[in-house]
């Protein structure tokens, strides 16, 4: 049975880089965070606070602003207004934040021409680290594909490799955009286990998903995004009404016709 997909396969680092926020410190803090693309408001005045070691699930319909939020927190886009801090460092300080964040976008950022070993060595190399790629890949169940080019990888293999490289520097914040998208149940379960393993070590995890059982299984808290706004947040059990499951709660919260009718306890005021 392969182990969870975490790149701890014997990497060495020249100096400790992870600066964990402990004792109640907030790893993610945003205030009035806003992103506009022309006339389109992708994220509108987001106030978010995620403490160390928490798994926070971002839920919302397509186009709700989840991916933009993740890109803002990973310095891939610049905010139009507001502030965001990772471990106390503003996201405008890209290099400092980069040391604290590991990111797996929906499409894993891999180079098709490289092999799995070369990709992982590259991901470590650009952070000034070295990694025992073979051990890490083998532990992640990619032992047979260590020297195979990534263009021949399946979706699940690419996701696993993407997850490995996102954790190669032991980040304080792991950001996962639709990590189980396109995976079979077994692979999806391994991703879930990986998230739980990483969180148990004290890493904060921010993940977006449309698979609500995944969000419910791994998240300490979830936030429901609608039209660039955080409509509700709280532990999954608190977001649900008595006899509904998380899917019902999601549909209720994201439906404009009913959203104003019933406000859950954890609903966020704009």
């Amino acid at each position: 049975m392969p182990e969870p997909v975490v790149a701890d396969g014997g990497f060495t680092r020249p100096a400790p880089v992870a600066r964990r926020m402990t004792d109640g410190g907030e790893v993610v803090e945003t205030a009035g965070l806003r992103k506009e693309y022309g006339d389109t408001v992708a994220v509108a005045s987001l106030d978010l606070s995620i403490p160390a070691g928490e798994v926070y699930g971002l839920l919302g319909p397509n186009g709700a602003g989840k991916t933009t939020t993740m890109r803002l927190l990973t310095t891939l886009v610049e905010p139009t207004a507001g502030t965001a801090r990772i471990c106390g460092t503003p996201v405008t300080n890209r290099r400092a934040v980069a040391s604290e964040v590991g990111f797996l976008p929906e499409e894993p950022p891999l180079y098709d021409e490289l092999t799995g070993r070369e990709q992982l060595e590259y991901a470590a190399g650009i952070r000034g680290l070295s990694v025992d790629a073979e051990t890490a890949l083998t532990r992640a169940g990619l032992g047979d594909a260590v020297d195979r080019r990534i263009e021949a990888y399946s979706t699940g293999m690419a996701k696993r490799l993407g997850l490995l490289q996102a954790t190669v520097h032991d980040p304080a914040l792991l950001v996962l955009d639709e990590p189980t998208n396109g995976l079979d149940p077994r692979a999806a379960r391994r991703v879930r286990e990986t998230v739980q393993t990483v969180a148990a070590r004290g890493t904060t995890v921010l993940l977006s998903t449309h698979v609500l059982p995944v969000a419910e299984a791994v998240s300490d808290r979830v936030g429901v995004f609608v039209d660039g706004r955080l409509r509700a947040e709280g532990p999954p059990t608190e977001l649900r009404d008595h006899r509904e499951d998380l899917e019902d709660a999601f549909l209720r919260l994201t439906d404009d016709r009913t959203a104003t009718d019933r406000r859950p306890v954890a609903e966020v005021d704009d």
């Binding site: 693309y37 890109r71 990973t74 310095t75 891939l76 886009v77 610049e78 890209r94 290099r95 400092a96 980069a98 040391s99 964040v101 590991g102 990111f103 976008p105 499409e107 894993p108 950022p109 891999l110 180079y111 098709d112 021409e113 490289l114 092999t115 070993r117 070369e118 060595e121 590259y122 991901a123 470590a124 190399g125 650009i126 952070r127 000034g128 260590v146 020297d147 195979r148 080019r149 021949a152 490289q165």
Partner: protein, 560 residues
Amino acid sequence: MTDDSPARATDGERVTDGKRATDGEPFVPATRDRTGQTGTLRLASLIAWTSLRRAVRRALARPRRTAVVVLFFAVVWGSVLFDGPGGATSPPGPGGFDTFGDAATVGVYARGLAAVGWVGAVVLAALGATTRLDDVDAAALTLPAAGVRATFLGTLAAEHARRFAVIGGFASLAVVSVAAGGGGVGTLPTGGVAVLCVFVTAELVGHVFALWWSSRTDGEVLSPGLRLLAAGAALMGVTLGAVRLDVIVPLFAQTPLGWYGDLFLLGTPAPARPRLAAAAAVASVGGVVPLYLLAERLARRVWFRDPPAPTPSRGRATAMTADTVLTDRLPVDDAARAVARRVWLQTVRRPKTLVFLGIPFLFAGTVVVSGDYPPAFPVLLGLYGAWAAGIGTTLNPLSSEGAGLPLLLTSPLAGGGVVRGYVLASVSVAVPAVATVVLLAAPLAGFSAQLTLAGVVVGVGLTLGTAPLSVAVGVGIPRIERLSATSVDGPLTPSKFALAAHSLVILLLSLPALAGVALEPRFGPWALWLGVAASLALASLGGALGYRYAAARFGRLRLA
């Protein structure tokens, strides 16, 4: 038929009203049954039309590129129209064709050029043939719905139409202009028929060849190394042909392909051979269906074959080579070295850009065939090295990053580190290569030790100096695919505008050295070395500025 099946209306039209979902609009659209109107030709036309519409929209989405192409053909066609036989500015004479020479010469050239044109069209068609199922537009939708025959026919028709629009269309216009402007003796009554015969048969033969070759080689048409050699050899061949047209054209004129030339010449004063012209026309028309059926049969075999098994050993070998080239002794930080190693591996494994390196073969071919070495040959060789090094690795960095760009941008690597990585990937291979080529070629061509040394110094100096400059040009004028694309077919070749800018930069920086070579016989060695020093100084300055610009751009880069 189940209860869920759509009801069939009495007028023969199947109407699916779609089941109402419990909430919102249904996903099942209302349709009308037109199965009586879905013959292969109709479906193929629909596929071809859709493909062409996409091509037109892509062209409109890239107005600069489209404008350049249109302008190029407008200039060429305009020159034929106004300066060709019988044109407004052509020399006065009794008729259009007379300006080419006597009738016999016209006949030979018409046949030879028709044959050469046919071969060229075959090569273009073969290069553009759809030999992979992945290259079929929306194959998962089109193939099950329309079938293989309609899909292949539609795809082939669209490819043919695209090429014909650019090249065949130009040829047709040229023929028409000659016909219209040639007065009583210059008309080409069968010119249009000849153009069609040439392009349709060449298109089919090119497809048959490409598909047959692909079926023989199990998908791996040519290994990257062989592709480079083939491209170099092809360019060399083109050069030889262009330089020795007086030999090539009469040679091709004697082949059966030259009969197309007779088809062009029917009705003109040139000595056409009507029977052979008729044979060319009949063979072309009669060959269309068998050639198409053969191509389709090959496509069925090639499109649906199993993918080749992955070969891990080659990956390890190239990685080890990269490690050998990018040794720890080079004074670069580890992060930049990681970038360099990755860029190097990408370049070697997807060597689209390296095809440009074959262009110096044109130059070498011309020089070798003519036996006339220009005085600045060693320096020009060095310049080619610097030019090619930039194009091969550093001139399109954003495309090299492609889908991996978020990884780079979420790393702590600063912009300068990225640029140093690209520069290292380029110069670690190019500098020894440039020096070796000049040191070998210049003495063999009989040049002095001084000029050889100058060539090495200029080549190495410009390669070092222009590497960061070419990265700057590449990030300033990028050519990239959407990062969100689920299938990115490797790094793209650099933008044509980046290529032009890079070439211009190299030319400007080398001007002093070239002037030094020109002035050396008159003013002595100091003029040569002054020019070389000036070029190196300019290259250093340009390199420093380019480094700063590119590093800043990479540092500020964000996703859209």
